[in-house]
Amino acid sequence: MKCLLRMLPKGRTLVISVPFLWLLLFFFVPFIIVLKISFSEAEVAIPPYSEIFQFADDTLRILLNLGNYVFLSEDELYWSAYLSSVKIAFISSLICLCIGYPMAYAMARANQRTQTILLLLILLPSWTSFLIRVYAWIGILKNNGLINNLLMWLGLIDSPLPMLNTNFAVYVGIVYTYLPFMVLPLYANLIKLDHSFLEAASDLGCKPWKVFFEVTLPLSRNGIIAGSMLVFIPVVGEFVIPELLGGPESLMIGKVLWQEFFNNRDWPIAAALAIVMLAILSIPIAYFNHHQAKEMEG
């Protein structure tokens, strides 16, 4: 028994260290390497970047090449890509919130049995392939697609409305794929809402819409934050949706990074783009982490 008790702190350390070391190696350290490579120069070699630490004649030379960042800041393209990514992410989170909040609210007020079915209905699309769901919209939005065919058949338009390869299609695709991420945290939050608060408010003569804005909405703040962050942060770096549904006008930083890496094979520029994106997202991510960690600890 004594022997086992002595094992106790060891066990605790083991339980902590296994996931800790895994995440440290495969999640944290990679960012340091990205940072390092963003200071190197592109070269025609394998791997295609220069080494920034050089050790020769007992001296360690560190060559920090700031050229990538200077290049990014001087090119209009990157600025507008960052700006439009943040704008698209912000607007689509807002749209998701406006649609998702009433949905979550209605779900939370349904009876227990309906709730289980509704929850499955919300979850089910996110279990099927994301790529295939984006693909579905190509067939719907393209020039000889369903919507245009329907509108022309009804005689509302003479020539097809260009919808695919526009920002409109990007918004549709983003809202479509990220809506469940907004609904689920809101629902999880609204279901815990204490109905006696609402009853108390209406007993005291509060009108229903006022009860909603002054009691329900403030109490669901955490759900709103979690849902908005779950949409906003990944959308800023979204690649698949602007690539498949967007056109040349829908410039997003995820797409630019992909092109720099895969098409231009410029790894240092791609790394610098990732570092700047991380810097932009660091505040929202820290905010999300703070809330999520509190939620997980209980």
Binding site: I122, S129, A136, V183, L230, E238, E243, F261, A293, M296
Partner: protein
């Protein structure tokens, strides 16, 4: 009941669900279309399914994806459950803020950043220590384990928080070691959450295009990579057939989950219910 009334939120819920399901319904419908043009209906046909199964490249990608998804979700469940345990039970240790940051950040980290950073890690490691010698299934597996353990941790921790710790304390008071208590008491209680986490990790892995594209090597093409390259070339009815199979399998799994939840609820209503069963049911219906 509130759900029957025609309130604003109920209308939005119905429209929202319609918005989520209509495109999928159209996909399924057109997978049976005889015409190659996706928007012209030319009669019922099952030929795209035959072509789908005859596509060797696609089938080998399916097999590759299923293997990676299976092994990565198994590992993610182990790591994620450990991480959830650490998050909910160990309130103070050195590096806790870093730990909680690393377990929650993968939930929102854009895929392009995760993919690029992991690739650069693998390249740097193979230069430094010669491992991994080449990128492929193993590197995709590591990447998928890393991001899906975060999701598993969220699902499992939400269950762990509700577990009555007095049962664990009782077991330890009676002389069970912490390990024994964990495996005999805690694991059975959180089993539904572990199963839900496994399924989530499986679907996340099966679905990932961006991260896999970064860390894969020659000869390790996953299903989303094949689908993506064929979609980029244009709409293909074969993809509709594939989508239909996806929807079919997922609907079947969802039906089973619903049936299990209902059965658990029926048991809850019987007089011989236990605290645990109540928790199981509420778990199934509250899972974010």
């Amino acid at each position: 009941m509130a759900s029957r009334k025609l309130t604003f939120s109920n209308v939005v819920l119905c429209l929202g669900l319609l918005f989520l399901y209509l495109p999928m319904f159209i996909l399924v419908l057109y997978s049976f279309n005889a015409s190659k043009l996706v928007t012209v209906w030319a009669g019922f046909s099952g030929k795209w399914y035959i072509e789908l199964f005859a596509d060797d490249q696609l089938m080998s990608a399916v097999w590759m994806s299923l293997r990676i998804a299976f092994f990565s979700s198994c590992m993610a469940v182990i790591l994620g459950t450990m991480a959830a345990f650490v998050m909910t039970r160990f309130h103070r240790f050195r590096g806790k803020p870093l730990f909680s940051g690393m377990i929650t950040a993968p939930l929102v980290m854009p895929d392009v950043i995760t993919g690029l950073s992991l690739l650069l890690l693998f390249v740097a490691m193979s230069q430094l220590i010669g491992w991994p010698a080449e990128r492929g299934m193993l590197t995709i597996w590591i990447a998928h384990v890393t991001f899906s353990s975060a999701y598993v941790a969220v699902v499992v921790s939400s269950r762990l928080r509700e577990v009555d710790t007095s049962i664990e304390e009782a077991a330890m008071d009676l002389g069970a070691t912490p390990f024994k208590t964990f495996f005999l008491i805690t694991i059975p209680v959180i089993a539904p959450a572990i199963a839900a986490g496994w399924l989530l990790a499986f679907t996340l892995s099966l679905d990932d295009l961006v991260i896999a594209s970064f860390v894969s090597g020659p000869g390790s093409t996953t299903l989303p990579m094949v689908v993506f390259s064929s979609v980029r070339l244009g709409v293909s009815p074969k993809i509709n057939a594939l989508a239909t199979l996806f929807v079919l399998v997922v609907s079947f799994a969802a039906f089973i989950a619903w049936w299990l939840a209902r059965r658990a609820e029926a048991r809850r209503r019987s007089p011989l219910r236990t605290e645990e069963e109540v928790n199981w049911t509420s778990h199934l219906s509250n899972q974010p």
